[in-house]
Point group: C2
DNA sequence: TTGTAAGCGTTATCAG
DNA sequence: CTGATAACGCTTACAA
């Protein structure tokens, strides 16, 4: 593996001159520059990132640490982040599990976006306080060098449910996501608040975990009851898809017998029958905004507030 | 940000002793070791990865470079890789786009898995020849330090289609993926070979791109024809789901009027109506095998052949 | 415009 | 068992 030393030797210049030339510094004679590039080219030289980063005390890498690699939300947010980082000449490093912690501790990134509830608040605070700026997503956390960006799930659901009540529905059920999911809990709050305000005192509750499977099972339970709800709000679209599947199998018509809606506006929602009504956020845009913010932060600018996309209701056929 | 120097000073030992202690080398007095760890703890010290990697000439990172972050296949393969790497104390670094190239060139990884048709063969060969071991997925590429792992899409489809012909189908269509997708082309080869061998001389062909949308559009075209095919093989499950959607809308019964099947066995396939018949590969397992191989390679062992999972037919309701 | 040399934070060799 | 000290490959004052 060639080093800058090899390039310098081949070009017949000193190491520093080679470095200047390679880094496009102005103080280099054109002929020299040409020689250096020629040499680098022939040797197929690329600078060693570890050495460079060590010396410059910055890596140009932004970490995105997520809980798992699946899920349409993650992909969209990641895509948004990737796009914006690339535009600004930062590398994106996505990781998960123990690697996330290692990369963070060893400072192989200049900053990070955390989308992983498994990493504890106190660990995050520790990294941040040591100078690693962090943006946490879908989670509330304050502190030095820590920023958080949270979609207002509660108000979105609140507004939507209120609308549905005004449309005449008054008998609701909620299919939940995991209890430790911040966004699920927010959504449930919004749901309950709307019911409460409108004087609807009770609703059915089904525990799920954001999967199609869980939605399906909740659906089976609902079908089995004599007092079926008239409207089921699902904590995410996947649950809703499972529910639809169960209802379809039992020949319960949607929305005439049971109406329903989800959250997330996943791609698939338009391709099932009936088409899913849902609340959607532009996750790609969210990723872009978050990336913009972390770039500003790591480059020393101050960020007071991270812009976030507003949500939207996608009225389709399921209610 | 504390360095090992700070730790050494605080513990009252030399830098090298601190290093020995921290790295669990045997030649350190227990008391000294304790003092050092105590100091490290109090200072919240973690070694700087760039310095460590530079000195050790290895990073402990394995790169996984993919084309985009979406898609159920990617998620599963990534999950398998992550799991196995973590088990062996390697970090996983997933990236995409320009970052991939940067991380590769700057040697911020010890080796990489490439799942990205955008990176050219010649670039890959160059990195590999400079000492970076590479495993390319779903793509054939030979060379020093390059290994490739390819699912035998062709034989899987070939066997499946032959089976369908034996069951009596003789009028086929193929909904394609992108023309530059290696796996799509392999699948198409297998498809054609089976037809050819069984003396079926023609079939319909619809160009798609692996998306639900493209499958849906192909479906619309099929519906519009008077000579509708009796069996449609879709290059992947997402296309098949789009096709089903179009057929359902037009009240064409599956499989009685048109039978169909897909490829990939994505999670969703069991939750649509009719349940999708498909060819599936255990992608998580594939990821694990690939990870095992790259670990062996970067640790200097020789690998002759990368184990890969066999595929399986999931007979459900769509044919 | 170019070269010398210090130093980034580690590990590892070699003496002690 | 511990401590100097020389690298690792690069950037960057500073000098020439």
């Amino acid at each position: 593996m060639p080093t800058i030393k090899d390039v310098a030797k081949k070009a017949g210049v000193s190491i520093s001159t080679a470095s200047y030339a390679l880094n496009h510094l102005p103080n280099v004679h054109p002929d020299t520059r040409k020689k250096v590039f020629q040499a680098a080219q022939e040797l197929n030289y690329y600078p060693n990132g570890n050495a460079k980063n060590l010396k410059k005390r910055k890596t140009g890498n932004i970490g995105v640490f997520i809980y798992g690699f699946s899920g349409p939300i993650f992909s969209d947010v990641l895509e948004g982040i990737r796009h914006k980082l690339q535009e600004n000449n930062y590398n994106i490093i996505v990781s998960s599990g123990k690697s996330s912690t290692n990369l963070l501790q060893e400072r192989q990134v200049d900053g990070a976006v955390i989308f992983d509830a498994q990493i504890t608040d106190s660990d995050l605070s520790a990294y941040a306080s040591h100078g690693l700026p962090l943006i946490v997503l879908d989670r509330k956390l304050e502190g030095y060098n820590i920023y958080s960006s949270v979609i207002e799930n509660d108000v979105l659901v609140y507004n939507f449910i209120k609308q549905m009540i005004e449309r005449g529905y008054d008998d609701f059920a909620y299919i939940s996501g995991p209890l430790d999911a911040f966004n699920n809990n927010q959504r449930y709050e919004g749901f309950k608040k709307a019911l409460h305000e409108k004087g609807i005192l009770k609703h059915q509750y089904y525990q799920g975990d954001f999967t199609i499977q869980a939605g399906y099972e909740a659906g089976r339970k609902i079908i089995g009851r004599k007092d079926r709800p008239r409207f089921v709000f699902c904590a995410n679209d996947e649950s809703a898809i499972g529910l639809i599947q169960a209802l379809n199998e039992a020949n319960i018509t949607i929305p005439d017998e049971i109406a329903l809606a989800g959250f997330d506006n996943i791609y698939l929602g338009q391709y099932i029958k009936p088409k899913l009504t849902t609340i959607g956020i532009d996750h790609i845009l969210w990723g872009e905004k978050v990336a913009e913010a972390i770039i500003k932060i790591v480059s020393g600018q101050t960020v007071k507030k991270i812009e976030k996309p507003v949500g939207e209701i996608y009225e389709r056929e399921s209610c």
